[in-house]
Symmetry: C2
Subunit: 431 residues, 2 copies
């Protein structure tokens, strides 16, 4: 089998990339290949499905803001992307508030909509316990909430619907998909082969020529896009390439609100958004956060998981996808119930885990060309909300353009987000 | 067992770090632990044992120049470090020469001694073939040498002697060593433990408390230094820490000069240094390089090995240390014999492989504090030549000083070479 462009990975980033390459180069054969049975059914489908434009890094602001505008416009034109603009509400203690102050000012200067609510304002709007005072909370050292930062152009979306949206468009303009085919290896070949075993030698010019799938069939290509998320190292390390991607297990716990008066009341908190729903709330401890899922009357709860949670270089064992109820009970629940007593004696309806692919130097995604390969990844837990911009940048990198034109007309320099002459500043607001 | 400071790894970086911490904090118990039977017998002992101050990055220049001055002074005072200041000679083709031009000018502005020799000057000094013209060389696309760049404050040193030098000093001032003890795991503990299984929880403050060795004995410490080179991820990934270190196998082939008139003549090329020896020579293709080892009448030959040589995240299999004769025959020899026909029909006396620990974002080492841990590593093939400076920086980081005083009196900002607020520029001259 052969094609002009092979895209590996039909998570959100691979799917969007395949679509923009096919759209802007309609004469090219573009194949999107994935090891799973359907698009977006790996870690994209396991994600929390949120979007926000409230980042400290200008690059993240641009990537997210343009993508969100595109998604909002698509939904307003009839596409069902499951968007609910509920907003993000960061609850800060005094120390965090003073750290965030300058960052919030910079966001405002860049046109990002953020409001700061005082503790008193928050107490009027929302039923919670800003100053936990139980014996347990004192032992735990929980700090009082001193203010809240609210981002309005933020909310929920449905990852599987977003993937479907792009894959339908991709197929409609002639893109091809192959599922249930795991790429085991990308082959590098000598540009001027002498037919000797072991090529390319160190003195030879080389290019990437083919992808070998599990059953040893080969897909030959002229160019290749690698969008493998947490599997990036599995594909690239054997070639001697590295892009500083490492993964961590992250868990989501779905708490039933249905049979609990206080939780239903909390879910329907008015005054933050036009939907009359509680926003996504982030507590001042360990990034513990929860969002209302109104259609099924549940809250999805999760947290940051930094120390003592192993980094994974290359996923192998599928047990990584098992969530741990004990983890919720010992790490999340003791904090959650102190600030929001509505969560006392919670009923866990379901729980699952996924792999969160960090780009560790700065927690900002990268798009980099290497010979006839373009690699995209390292989205650090916020790829879905930047996907439309990243797909356009991948297409620009494929065409060897200096700039990518994003949805709102911004010309974004491709090299800026590359790994070789990278010019982005570290992102400080990572959950 | 317990101590004030535990240093893991008695390669060159761990040994120097242990020495400077003990020297500047004599009241502290410092233990240096290593999995092997003697210091420097891992990848430090497998290295090529070279030093140079010719780097494009100002930070590498400072780190190396100060260390080299310290080593030269120590040897002039009677220490045997095996130093031979033979120099480094980069042979460049036209394209490389034009890329290097500005970098060389910047080195000169920073006081680094570099000379540029024209092709004609090189031909007078040294017996070689600047313009390979055989059928094979044409097929291979070998470019003519257009100039040579010579660094004089560069040369050989003996890694095992340098390690012995520091470890003797360390032990003399009361430092303790433990060999044949493999650290399997570093334990993180809650600062205010509640005695519950699974601590530290995400809402707890924590610190590193102990190192568990292979036989499950524990070494408790107040502070820990991790200097594990290629094993950095094995120790740190389980803790959820990452420092962008990855390793590659690198091989050295020792070619006998003894029974070859032309090779002995090449070895004794005059006019480059006071020793009347050929310098380390780097060819314009794939970083293929060789150095004379006069005491045993051999040349050590190696090369860069980028594409298709896998990156290793966590070393496991010891077969990594097997060198491949076929690799020399197909990758190095065809190029070597075209520029230096003296190497025709070479006799490989011995060959070995080691792990080269890259710091991939910029190929410059890092020293970073994380809680009560200091991590040093990522020396990217040039740790030995920067070790004295890095050891002093580790000590400064241990003492939470803002600056480290290097050998020549330079005050170097510790944060500059950290991973969190890193300020170094990418190194361009990496072999």
């Amino acid at each position: 089998m052969q094609c002009d462009v092979l895209v590996i990975g039909s998570g959100i980033l691979g799917t969007v990339s395949a679509y923009y390459i096919k759209k802007n180069n309609p004469e090219r054969d573009v194949i999107l290949v994935d090891m799973l049975a359907s698009p977006g059914s790996g870690n994209t489908g396991r994600s929390n499905g949120m979007f926000r434009n409230t980042f400290t890094s200008l690059d993240n602001q641009i990537l997210a803001d343009n993508s969100i505008d595109f998604y909002l416009e698509a939904q307003s034109q009839g596409a069902d992307l499951g968007i609910q603009k509920i907003g993000y509400l960061w609850l800060l203690d005094e120390k965090k508030a003073s750290i965030y102050e300058k960052q919030i000012q910079r966001m405002r200067e860049n046109g990002i909509d953020v409001n700061v609510y005082t503790k008193t304002e928050l107490e009027k709007k929302m039923n919670f316990q800003p100053s936990p005072a139980s014996d347990e909370s004192l032992v735990m050292g929980l700090k009082p909430v001193s203010e809240g930062v609210f981002g309005s152009k933020c909310g929920r979306l449905a990852p599987e619907k977003l993937v479907s949206f792009y894959i339908d468009k991709f197929v409609k303009i002639g893109g091809k998909t192959i599922f249930n085919h795991k790429v085991m290896r990308i082959v590098a070949s000598a540009l001027k082969s002498l037919g000797i075993e072991g090529e390319p030698f160190v003195w030879q010019e080389w290019f990437f020529s083919a992808a070998e799938t599990e059953n040893y069939s080969k897909i030959y290509f002229k160019d290749i896009v690698v969008a493998c998320g947490a599997w990036t190292n599995v594909i690239l390390e054997p070639l001697g390439l590295d892009f500083q991607v490492k993964s961590k297990k992250r868990q989501i716990f779905s708490i039933a609100a249905k049979n609990s008066g206080p939780l239903i009341e909390l879910m329907n908190t008015k005054g933050f958004n036009e939907l009359g729903l509680l926003p996504m709330v982030i507590l001042p401890v360990a990034g513990i956060h929860f969002k209302p899922v109104v259609e099924s009357q549940e809250f999805w709860v999760a947290c940051e998981d930094e120390i003592n949670r192993e980094f994974i270089d290359k996923p192998g064992d599928l047990s990584i996808y098992n969530a741990e109820e004990e983890y919720f009970n010992l790490n999340i629940y003791p904090v959650l119930k102190e600030y929001f007593p509505q969560f006392s004696r919670p009923e866990i309806k379901s729980m699952w885990a996924g792999l969160y692919a960090y780009h560790l130097p700065d927690c900002i995604p990268f798009v980099q060309r290497e010979s006839n390969m373009v690699i995209v990844g390292g989205d650090s837990g916020s790829g879905i909300m930047k996907a439309d911009s990243l797909g356009r940048i991948v297409d620009a990198a494929y065409r060897r353009e200096e700039y990518a034109k994003l949805y709102n007309g911004t010309y974004y320099p491709v090299e800026r987000i590359g790994t070789k002459n990278r010019k982005v500043e570290k992102e400080e607001w990572v959950i």
